[in-house]
C-alpha cells in the first residue's frame, strides 16, 4: 500500500542520513525518488563523501561504494531487524580508518541484530565476541575449530 511504502521510504532515508556520516566520518547521503507516485517510482541513492561534490555513484571508488552499501543495508536493518545478518568479507575493500568505523557500528548494531561475519581483517576479528575457525587440515574436508583472537591471526596465516 501507498502508506506503507511511504513509511518505509522515509524511515530508511532517515536512517541512511544518520548512518552514512558515521561510517564515512562526515559527508551525507539520502534517498531520492525518480517519479511522483510512491507506488511505482524508482529509488536512487544520493551520496556525498566528506569534502566532495555530490556526484554520480558510478564515479565513487571501490571502498566508497562498499561503505555506502553497508550504510544502506544497516539502515534497512534498523527498519526491519531480521533475526540475523550474514556478511561475507564486506570489509575487504576498506582501508584501516573505514574498517575501524565499520567495526564500531557493527558492535553498536549488534545490540538488536545478530551478526555472523566472515573476514580476513584483524581489526574486524577483534570486534567479534566469538570466533569460529574453519580449517581443512584434511585437504578438501572442512572442519571447525574454536579459536581466540591471537590464535585467529595465526590461523589466517596458515
Amino acid at each position: 500500500t501507498r502508506a506503507r511504502m511511504k513509511d518505509t521510504y522515509e524511515r530508511v532515508d532517515a536512517d541512511l542520513q544518520a548512518l552514512f556520516p558515521r561510517l564515512f566520518g562526515g559527508g551525507r547521503a539520502w534517498l531520492a525518488m525518480t517519479g511522483e507516485d510512491l507506488l511505482d517510482a524508482g529509488v536512487t541513492i544520493m551520496a556525498q563523501p566528506p569534502g566532495k561534490k555530490i556526484g554520480s555513484l558510478s564515479l565513487m571508488s571501490g571502498g566508497e561504494k562498499a561503505l555506502t552499501a553497508v550504510a544502506l543495508v544497516f539502515a534497512i536493518f534498523r527498519l526491519n531487524p531480521a533475526p540475523f545478518c550474514m556478511l561475507d568479507e564486506v570489509d575487504a575493500p576498506l582501508d584501516e580508518a573505514n574498517v575501524g568505523r565499520f567495526g564500531r557500528l557493527l558492535r553498536e548494531m549488534s545490540e538488536r541484530v545478530q551478526f555472523i561475519f566472515i573476514t580476513h581483517n584483524k581489526a574486524t576479528m577483534e570486534v567479534a565476541e566469538h570466533l569460529a575457525g574453519v580449517t581443512m587440515h584434511e585437504p578438501g574436508v572442512s572442519r571447525l575449530v574454536d579459536v581466540d583472537v591471537a590464535e585467529a591471526v595465526r590461523l589466517a596465516a596458515v
Binding site: T8, M60, P93, V141
Partner: protein
C-alpha cells in the same frame, strides 16, 4: 529470535557432520582461502529454500552434495539444519510456543529435496512462510554474499525500490 546453531552434513566441503555454534550476537568466521567459509553462507541460503544452482555457485543442484576430495569418496546426501532460539516467542502463529525452532533441508543425488520443521516433514512453502515478514529468505538483504556488497549501489532505481519493498 536468534540463530543458535547451523548443522551441516555432506553439504559441499563439509562431508563430516559439523555444528557451528553461534554463541553471541557478534560471531566472526575465519580461515584460509578455500577452507569452506562461504560454503557456510551457501548452506544457510540453501536451507531457506534457494532453488537456483547458479546462486550457489554450482551448475546443478547436486553440486551442493560433497563430491569427493583427494582422499575421500563422494557421498549421496547433503543436509543442513538451522536451529533458532525462539525463547522470546518472536516467531508467531503456530510456532510461538516453541522455545527452539529447527529448519532442515535434505537432498540426495536424484535431486528431490525434503524439508523438516522441528523434525516433522513439511513443504518448502511452509519454510518460506515461516520466514515471511522476518526479513529472512534465500535472497534477503540480511545475507550479503562475497563480492556482492556493491550490488545495491549498482542497482537500477526500480531494483532498489524492490529491495526496499522486501524489507517493508
Amino acid at each position: 529470535m536468534r540463530l543458535s546453531r547451523i548443522r551441516l552434513a555432506g553439504f559441499k566441503s563439509f562431508v563430516d557432520p559439523v555444528t557451528v555454534h553461534l554463541r553471541s550476537n557478534l560471531v566472526g568466521i575465519l580461515g584460509p582461502n578455500g577452507c569452506g567459509k562461504s560454503n557456510v553462507i551457501d548452506a544457510v541460503r540453501w536451507v531457506m529454500g534457494e532453488s537456483a544452482a547458479s546462486r550457489l555457485r554450482g551448475e546443478a543442484m547436486s553440486d551442493v552434495i560433497f563430491s569427493g576430495s583427494a582422499t575421500r569418496k563422494p557421498v549421496g546426501q547433503a543436509s543442513v539444519e538451522l536451529v533458532f532460539d525462539n525463547a522470546e516467542g518472536r516467531l508467531g502463529g503456530a510456532w510461538a510456543s516453541y522455545a527452539e525452532i529447527s529448519v532442515r533441508r535434505l537432498v540426495n543425488r536424484d535431486g528431490t529435496s525434503q524439508y523438516f520443521l522441528n523434525g516433522t516433514r513439511c513443504r518448502r512453502r511452509d519454510v518460506t512462510e515461516l520466514f515471511l515478514g522476518t526479513g529472512l529468505g534465500p535472497r534477503s538483504y540480511a545475507i550479503v554474499e562475497q563480492g556482492m556488497i556493491s550490488r545495491v549501489i549498482d542497482a537500477r532505481p526500480e531494483e532498489l525500490r524492490a529491495f526496499l519493498e522486501e524489507a517493508a
